[in-house]
């Protein structure tokens, strides 16, 4: 009998889990449309911007000499790599967070084997938590943005941090504050990295997310390819030539403006992709969790009925047995 009650309880708890997962899946489905629209809107801006940046960088002669953000570090001791890790604030979205975390862990492990250091800026709680267990404290942390305003603000802040990390003006904030308070000494060692990478989930389609690990800094100069692939030079070309001429002899000024914007746009795109991918991943994960729960409830109900029938049968056998004994 105890067994019957256990099964009944089990069915009850699976049912309430299913209620939660199916509600989450429905919420995610509703949010998905919005997140996807936001991402598609942003994509147009992002591709135009990336196109302009790419064209200008291609047109410039020897861009590396013009701006420090385009130049690989010349200091042989500076081998550290900075990571910008974009995850979600919340879990229950399948392999979404762990895919990014595993990628980062792999890359950091490879660096550590080479004796190089890694510094991390995280966006989203899940990435920070994971890296902490991996003994890699985040230099700075941001909440995963969901609204468009927040995306722009966070992208801006992260871009500034990436630049200061790359150019060696980063001040360690967390630990530095304590030291300042005590002796007023500004001895926090300035951090510097030779490269900044951006790791995030790329929204390929509703069921597929891909982890991308892109090099942000030094800003890569794209290969001279035809973006449309139609063999005709891109229409921006004339405009680009005029732009560079207008800033002659000071192309640096143009780059001063261009590069931070390029960086911000790249980060923005990553954030938009990540937030759409998060919702999509959660929907898929919660959908299959709901299906699993339904299946489990079916199995348990079958088992319950079987047990109940067995109990009834054995009771009947007892009664019949008793009656037979009295007759005899």
């Amino acid at each position: 009998m105890a067994n019957l009650k256990e099964i009944r309880n089990r069915i009850g708890s699976v049912k309430s889990t299913r209620k939660i997962t199916s509600a989450m899946s429905r919420i995610a489905a509703a949010r998905l449309r919005r997140a996807q629209t936001a991402m598609e809107n942003a994509r147009e801006y992002g591709t135009r911007m990336a196109g302009i940046v790419g064209e200008i960088l291609r047109e410039l002669e020897d861009p590396g000499a013009l701006h420090p953000l385009l130049r690989p570090s010349d200091d042989p001791d500076n081998t550290a790599v900075g990571f910008i890790v974009v995850t979600a604030d919340r879990g229950l979205c399948g392999g979404f967070n762990s895919a990014v975390n595993r990628q980062v862990e792999r890359e950091i492990k490879a660096l550590r084997e080479e004796g190089r250091e890694a510094h991390v800026v995280t966006v989203g709680r899940k990435g920070r938590g994971y890296l902490k267990t991996y003994k890699q404290a985040a230099l700075s942390h941001h909440h995963a943005p969901t609204k468009s305003d927040e995306v722009i603000d966070v992208a801006k802040q992260v871009a500034v941090e990436a630049i200061s990390l790359f150019s060696g003006t980063w001040k360690a904030e967390g630990e530095g504050q304590g030291a300042e308070g005590e002796g007023g000494e500004d001895e926090a060692p300035k951090l510097r990295v030779a490269e900044v990478r951006l790791v995030f989930n790329y929204f390929k389609n509703v069921i597929t997310q891909e982890v991308h690990s892109d090099k942000l800094l030094p800003v890569p100069v794209p290969e001279p390819v035809d973006l449309d692939g139609d063999g005709v030079p891109d229409p921006a070309r004339a405009a680009v030539v005029h732009a560079i001429r207008a800033f002659e002899p000071d192309s640096k000024q143009l780059l001063d403006h261009l590069l931070p914007v390029a960086l911000e746009t790249a980060i923005q795109q990553a954030l938009y992709n990540s937030s759409a991918a998060e919702v999509a991943a959660r929907r898929t994960a919660m959908d299959s969790a709901t299906d699993n729960a339904t299946e489990l409830i079916g199995e348990l109900t079958l088992q319950y009925n079987r047990e109940r029938q067995a109990a009834i049968t054995s009771e009947l056998m007892e009664i019949i047995g008793g009656a037979e004994a009295l007759k005899g």
Binding site: T37, A38, E40, N41, A42, E44, Y45, G46, R48, M49, I52, I56, S148, D149, V151, I152, K156, Q157, V160, E161, I163, S164, S167, T169, W170, K171, P235, A236, A238, A239, V240, H242, A243, A246, F247, Q253, L254, H257, L258, P260, V261, E264, T265, Q268, Y272
Partner: protein, 157 residues
């Protein structure tokens, strides 16, 4: 036609800005994706090398845009928009595209909130007056102040 009108288009990460809406029009979000560019006689905008105007027949051109105010005339009214940092592209076909991180129509600026934020940013900047110019915190604050300034000017000018 190409000689008389420009095709103006403002793109933000939020989508395309609906330039047809007049003051008191739809209160919806500043961005909408169905609408194409509008025709204008000219447009003034804050470029990195100074305030500039674009009229029909302009050479193909590309220049950075700094936070400030974009002005143009549409439907017999003067229109102003506060824009953030970005780029201006004038194509050979006479279409003007402003790629900017954000845009707010002049009448959508929330004056009280902006004034309040502006005051607090200025105050915070004053506290960092001795910090180096490359300091990440200072750069963040300066960027915020530029955007708030742009909104205020769009509202007042």
């Amino acid at each position: 036609m190409a000689d008389e009108y420009l095709q103006l288009d403002i793109l933000t990460p939020d989508g395309r800005v609906d330039l047809r809406v007049g003051e008191g029009g739809s209160k919806g979000s500043a961005a909408s994706k169905e609408l194409g560019p509008i025709e204008v006689e000219g447009v003034e905008l804050p470029a990195a090398l100074g305030e500039m105007g674009v009229r029909p027949g302009h050479v193909p051109f590309l220049t950075p845009v700094v936070p400030g105010v974009v002005r143009f005339r549409h439907g017999g009214e003067d229109r102003r928009l506060a824009v953030g940092a970005g780029f201006l592209e004038v194509s050979e076909a006479g279409s003007v595209t402003i790629l900017t991180e954000r845009a707010v129509r002049s009448w959508e600026v929330e004056l009280d909130a902006v004034n309040e934020q502006h005051a607090s940013v200025v105050e915070e900047l004053a506290q960092h007056a001795s910090a180096s110019l490359d300091d990440a915190q200072v750069l963040k604050l300066q960027a915020r102040r530029a955007w708030l300034d742009a909104q205020l000017r769009a509202r007042q000018a």
